[in-house]
């Protein structure tokens, strides 16, 4: 029997994939299935902390941990490789170094930046996406500051940072950047008044979906830290020397900047699209049991999935919280598929959403209560620690958690 054990392959060690493999051993026995986890890196990184690594307020090593430290290696085989293609007909995944067959597949390949075809963004703007992009952006900003004082002719564009997007990531990055500005200026002998941080958002508000009171609080706080907001203003083009931005029906404005950050959108990983699943921007609208329509042996979760809120008929936001809950459901449903039993429907349990505004401030809603300032900042750290605890237990939480609460 052991020779014919079904093969479960999990693609991606993000919040969803990692939760799936840490929970799977509870639902299936050693002899029930082989479990393989595939991930490009040997580490998991906290996608939701990348604004900190990008601004340089938290070292990128604090935002990642070794996958082997959280999986049960006697039950889960870890393969470090890049997924090149998924072949649902022949039930195999092509990696850089060969193919692996599966009987059951879990896709949690995450998101990639979406530039909506805006000219020059792909070439010249920095995304806030992963460990690699975050430390690059941090180092790039530092090099701009360092270079400023080596040049006889002073270039304000070296000290001008433009952030495209005032959604969750954009606002959280602005909070960190505004917080780091004094230290950056001290370190590089630069007058704080020379630094310009501009946020450009095409939508009519920052933090769409947030309560207007919290939005106002966030904007006022960031403005008090020197952030300029250009709301209802679109990035029209990005070049090596800056951006062109503009409001509808108004003359466009050029902002010279060596650092344009694009935080205005993500889409699902293109592999999902290429595999032939019906999708919207790389996201598959999954069945209530989290399987891909028409594919009884393929689960899709996290940023690779779209899960519809039946009350609002709109998709739930792609958060770490939901991805982890999906991982728990996927693990349970895989157990039932293999050992028998009815598959469970996924029911998100949204405990809250908090956007940080730097180390000591935040806005959000937790258990239905609006929070801002210190209580919100406290809850943000609780939320950040929670994902560590869910995946790696107390040990990981103590090692990588955030405990500077006040």
């Amino acid at each position: 029997m052991a020779l014919n054990k079904p093969k479960i392959v999990v693609l991606g060690a993000g919040y969803g994939g990692l939760m799936t493999v840490t929970r799977l051993p509870k639902h299936i026995g050693t002899n029930d299935a082989d479990i393989t986890l595939v991930n490009k890196h040997n580490y998991h990184y906290e996608t939701t902390w990348m604004h900190e690594a990008s601004a340089g307020t938290l070292h990128h090593d604090r935002c990642r941990y070794q996958i082997k430290d959280v999986i049960n290696e006697s039950r889960v085989k870890f393969v470090q490789d890049t997924v090149k293609a998924i072949d649902v007909q022949n039930k195999k995944v092509t990696l850089s170094q060969g193919d692996i067959p599966y009987d059951y597949l879990v896709i949690g390949l995450g998101a990639v930046p979406e530039t909506f075809g805006i000219k020059g963004l792909k070439e010249f703007a920095f995304p806030i996406a992963n460990i690699n992009t975050s430390r690059q952006l941090k180092d790039h900003i530092e090099l701009q500051f360092a270079t400023y004082n080596t040049e006889a002719e002073k270039r304000p564009d070296r000290l001008t940072i433009v952030v495209g997007g005032a959604g969750f990531t954009g606002i959280e990055f602005l909070g960190e950047l505004a917080n780091r500005k004094p230290e950056l200026c001290r370190n590089y002998d630069i007058d704080e008044s020379l630094v310009r941080i501009v946020c450009v958002e095409a939508a009519p508000t920052v933090l769409p979906g947030f309560d207007p009171e919290l939005v106002d609080y966030a904007v006022q706080y960031l403005e008090s830290k020197g952030v300029e907001f250009k709301i209802g203003t679109a990035v029209q083009e990005c070049r090596a020397d800056g951006v062109t931005v503009g409001k509808k029906d108004e003359e466009p404005e050029e902002i010279k900047s060596q650092t344009v950050v694009w935080a205005a959108g993500v889409r699902g990983h293109p592999i999902v699209e290429e595999a032939g699943f019906e999708n919207m921007r790389g996201r598959v609208k999954v069945n209530p049991d989290l399987r891909a329509p028409g594919h009884d042996n393929v689960f899709i979760l996290g940023d690779s999935s779209l899960f519809i809120n039946e009350e609002t008929e709109r998709p739930y936001p792609p958060t770490a919280q939901i991805a982890m809950q999906q991982g728990e459901t996927v693990a349970k449903n895989l157990g039932r598929l293999i050992k028998g039993g009815q598959l469970e429907e996924f029911k998100p349990d949204i405990k809250g959403t908090v956007a940080s505004l730097g180390e000591h401030n935040a806005v959000g809603v937790v258990y239905g209560r609006k929070l801002k300032g210190t209580p919100a900042s406290f809850m943000k750290k609780v939320i950040d620690n929670r994902s560590l605890f869910m995946i790696g237990g107390l040990g990981l939480t103590l090692k990588k958690g955030k405990f500077k609460f006040f």
Copy 2:
């Protein structure tokens, strides 16, 4: 009488200028003269430590201190400004923000990189010159390492560092860089075997003037750390994408590199040349009492001066050690000029020369004894601490000194 006090103006807060103003109050009373120190920055930096700040093994703030912390502000007036010109006819110095007159002038404006007209070096190579250039070079190297992993097509030139010059600065920088390589690779997830550090030196040996046994030791040690040496090989051209190097009568070689460091020479500050002093590459061959020939009221010291060793008929090397000793003599001679007495001839007292090879190794000669390895490294730190002690006393030494001896 106080209204007509002579005015002493000291240009530059390097080793020589700072030593002059810290010693002057011993030789002249409050009513004897007004003393003004002019410096571009509000800090002194340890020129001889810039290889560490440039490689990132020592933070640049550890390599500088506030000028106000070491001068006696009741006796010495500090003016933070840039010297634009020296007018010896009218006895005045032009600063960015106005002129200041002097009766006695001390010039210690230091050195600037010398590129010997080699094409592209000024535009594309990084000097190891001061705090500004050092933190820029450090940040530039880090950004190259950070960028490597963000690119689909891997570029070895991002991990290739070419150092032009195997003299004192070049060798000391190579030692630090080789030492930092493992940490850089760990921090940026890069395989150490991908990093290439190449030293190109036109002269037939590294560390010219050093004992051949010490030279061999240094080369073997750095080679064991992965440094490639191309000796007797000139940098012929530097471009944005690397350098062309070649031995005489041989086919030139192109090395693709995003980081070309030029450590093969310095010259005296151009202001000295522009002021009309007879000079060689910006250095004035001074009289035995350290005055400029034909200028009885102008002392020149440090990298701005050339002081001839009468035994060898060659100039002494421009070291911090000699600059500080010159500062002591200049202070004494200014006292005698103003209060009367015969001027003293400068007699250098060369205690030794040690080139570091990273944190725990070095080669050199101290009190006539050849040293290598740990004893040399120990002496190097003693020497580094000595300049702190000479200028700022025990307090500064404890604050900024190097005490990790083994």
